[in-house]
Amino acid sequence: MSRRRFQMPTPPGVDEFHSAGGDAAGMWATHRPDEELVATHCSFCGVQCGMHLRVSEGEVIGVEPRFDTHNRGKLCPKGVSAYQQISHPDRLTHPLVRDADGLRRATWDEALDRVVDGITRIQAAHGRDAVATYGGASLVTEKTYVLGKFARLALGTRQADYNGRMCMVSAGAANYASFGVDRTPNPISDLAHADTAIVLGANVPETFPIFIRHYWELLDRGGTLIVVDPRETTLARVAALHLALRPGTDAALLLAMLHEIIARDLVDTDFVEAHTVGFDAVAASVADWTPERAAEICGLRAADITEAAVRFGTAERAMINHARGIEQQVMGARNAMACINLCLATGNIGRPGAGYGTITGQGNGQGGREHGQKCDQLPGQRSIEDPEARAHVAAVWGVDPDEIPGRGDPIFKQLDLMEAGEIRGVLNICSNPIVSWPDEQRTRRLLSGLDLYAVIDIFLSESALLADVVLPGSAWAESEGVVANSDALVCKINKAVDPPGEARDDIWILCELARRLGRGQHFPYRGAADVFEELRRASAGGKADYAGITYERLETEGPIAWPCPSTDHPGTPRMFTDHRFFFPDGRARFNVVEYEPPAEEPDADYPLRLTTGRTVAHYLSGNQTRRLGYLVEQAPRPWVEVHPSTAAALGIRDGDSVRVESRRGESVLPAKVVATIRPDTVFIPYHWASPVAANTLTISRFDPTSWIPAFKTAACRLSRVDGPAPEPSRPPVPGLATTASDRVAVAPSTPAPPTTVPASPTEPRGPSA
């Protein structure tokens, strides 16, 4: 065996373990005698692994695995390292406000009043809708509920949206259109019962490592695994069939598969007739989608497409799972609908091992999209345009239904309103748009141009650097609440310690802002428990019904899947077992899917396809994980994956610096020359800001239904450059590099290693604390 380590230039010095909150070693003592174990779940992805936080003298000092039904004690490197953010030295411990010299320390009174003055002034001059809220789906559900209510009742704006707009909205739109409810129908553990499973656009081993177990259960039983991904992931490596298609062409493959299933008489006609609507139109729409036609578009062999269709269509029990790969495209929602069409046509829904599942990405990816921080939604997954829903929620809130504003715009539609000066203020909590939104240069311009940009966060993100006011909020272990994981299991997050310094619970911050806006009467919460009791009533009778879930039940019974309408209801781990769907007639909908090419096709100037994604060491925009010792060691910087044949043609060798250019911008990154990617495609992980950002390259094109950005499809070109690629900037910290000059892009030549204090050309100013 030749053991060849991949050589990648690593930056000089990464965080010492102890500087990231690690505790000194105590030989032979796993646990301190005085320590307490606090049962909770991870702060990161949609798996929501159970874990214990080790707490001693008011500090979180470590992690102890915890056996929960869905993780069985297992953790990924992010989960193992999550506790290190709590006592991290980079934490925001006091409010910051911007003056001529940049961000400086302020009191809570001054900072809150700045936000309230800004809101009042903007709304007086430009109307209530000129101020928007932008939330996050890593917040516990109680915080998202308060944020949605804050937007509607304290600000009176219709412009509320959240960062699930980049994550779950395509799947959500498809779920609504097909099933009438937005929830993954089958738990991922159903894979253990499946005969065939198709996974599309989901790098499960890196993005949901804990779920990999269920794929092994499928394979150990002799099941067939089919993976659709432009890259050979470690899951694709063990698949019976790996369809490495061109990014953005998934719909063509799915339409051809349905064509083959119909042509080979594999349709479950009994199920289709009894439980669905619209099959004939869909069947007609795929009549000319032959495998040959799709093969040409996808860059696959027609025989492989047929084989995938036959294996799926002939299986007694088959499942489809997908994640962001097929969702972050202009075809995002339609791709998901095409997957559901396949399941409905073959009767694969509502049975163990037969069904469909979208793997949600964020920690509260499911719960964060249910209770009102979304532009078109009220609590309980109710439509803000439905008079009955408005009346119910208005009664719970104690207001007139007319006081609740109407439907707002998805955040990426709001960007055009910012461009036009119609939205002038944004309250941003728990999200880092500079790294996560497409087209970083545009993001910087729009956020810098706001009259008021206020940020609530636990670390000073690249976006918070541009803010007028930064309010230090609470990390996940500093307040309690619930999250709903990828399987819609509602899990209890428990408080382990108090927020550091002057940082406050996010719920307190929102309530205090409401009070200062003269709307405190609607926000009387002492904490998350009060919010949850109101949320239960607000969601009662809605699709996402939490009425029967209590903190006490979650503590004693463990996670419970919604809908759960009464306290004696066991929850709903698997949906549609009675084949009744959430439409008045109880039938599922087939949706006709028209194919549309990727957002940007390669041409002579930009001949390669760029697709972006994640790496196992980092979570979302990296505002947390880029500060944690081991995770920085594991993935200190992004890279560009290039196929050997493409690299050879361009004179690029493994480890060379490569300039990646698109019509939006450029980044210089080290090349990782690997045969595990299509020759016409390159891949960059997106967790970093410029000068090494993937999102300087991505395109501002969106799915017309879900408004998800087309992160997976852009055109680019590569060229080799001499010398080392620039290092990532160190994640921002208060007191360093928070000057006004940060409001323009960081110079690409800044050689600051990620975890040492940058030798900044501008002297650090602002607070010295």
């Binding site: 053991r3 060849r4 490197p77 490592p209 150990d220 595990t676």
Partner: protein, 191 residues
């Protein structure tokens, strides 16, 4: 194998996530230092990866302990080859060089060697080691051969390896394709 449960390494399952490396750093005996190795076999060609954990060699008696001039590495009766005793270790790195698996690590600042002690504080009280507890993929599994056989019917376990002419029987084991049952797995071919 002199202890009831051991670690079973199944390279075919490794997803290279690094959870084992991260978890090993959390061990109270060596916090901040990982005793795990995680390698891509040939990243240019494949995503296949291999976690390397101390195999707690049994026959011949642990090479790391055999070459230690000050007997700092002890093997307890339960078969666990312990980490060098810091009060004895002279930092000679013999163990680092002798181990056929490349497991012991030398800390040049402390001038001390470290190696996996199978999370003795955990395994001694019935818990699994950190690496095998967290491994999302069960590429590292802590349990009995019977449990592995029941869960993975198409696989076999082996605990004898060859390095050239030298055979080595270990406490921890490898999960391999069934056709390799009962064989000696050659890790370095004879010259």
């Amino acid at each position: 194998m002199s202890y009831e449960r051991s670690i079973f390494v199944d390279p075919s399952r490794c997803i290279a996530c690094g959870a084992c490396v991260a978890a090993c750093r959390e061990c109270d005996d060596h916090r901040g230092k990982s005793m795990m190795n995680l390698d891509f076999i040939d990243r240019a060609a494949t995503t296949a990866a291999l976690p390397t954990v101390c195999m707690h060699c049994e026959d011949p008696f642990a090479p790391c302990a055999e070459v230690c001039p000050v007997d700092a590495i002890l093997r307890t009766e339960d078969g666990v080859v312990q980490s060098p005793d810091p009060s004895r270790c002279i930092g000679c790195t013999n163990c680092v060089n002798a181990c056929p698996w490349g497991v012991p690590k030398f800390d040049p600042v402390e001038q001390l060697a470290y190696k996996c002690n199978l999370c003795y504080d955990r395994t001694a009280v019935g818990l699994a080691p950190m690496c095998a507890t967290v491994c999302p993929s069960d590429a590292l599994f802590y349990g009995t051969a019977a449990e592995v056989a029941a869960a993975r019917p198409s696989r076999a376990v082996i605990d004898v390896f060859s390095f050239g002419d030298q055979e080595l029987q270990t406490g921890n084991q490898y999960v391999v394709p069934a056709e390799l049952a009962g064989s000696v797995l050659p890790l370095i071919s004879p010259p």
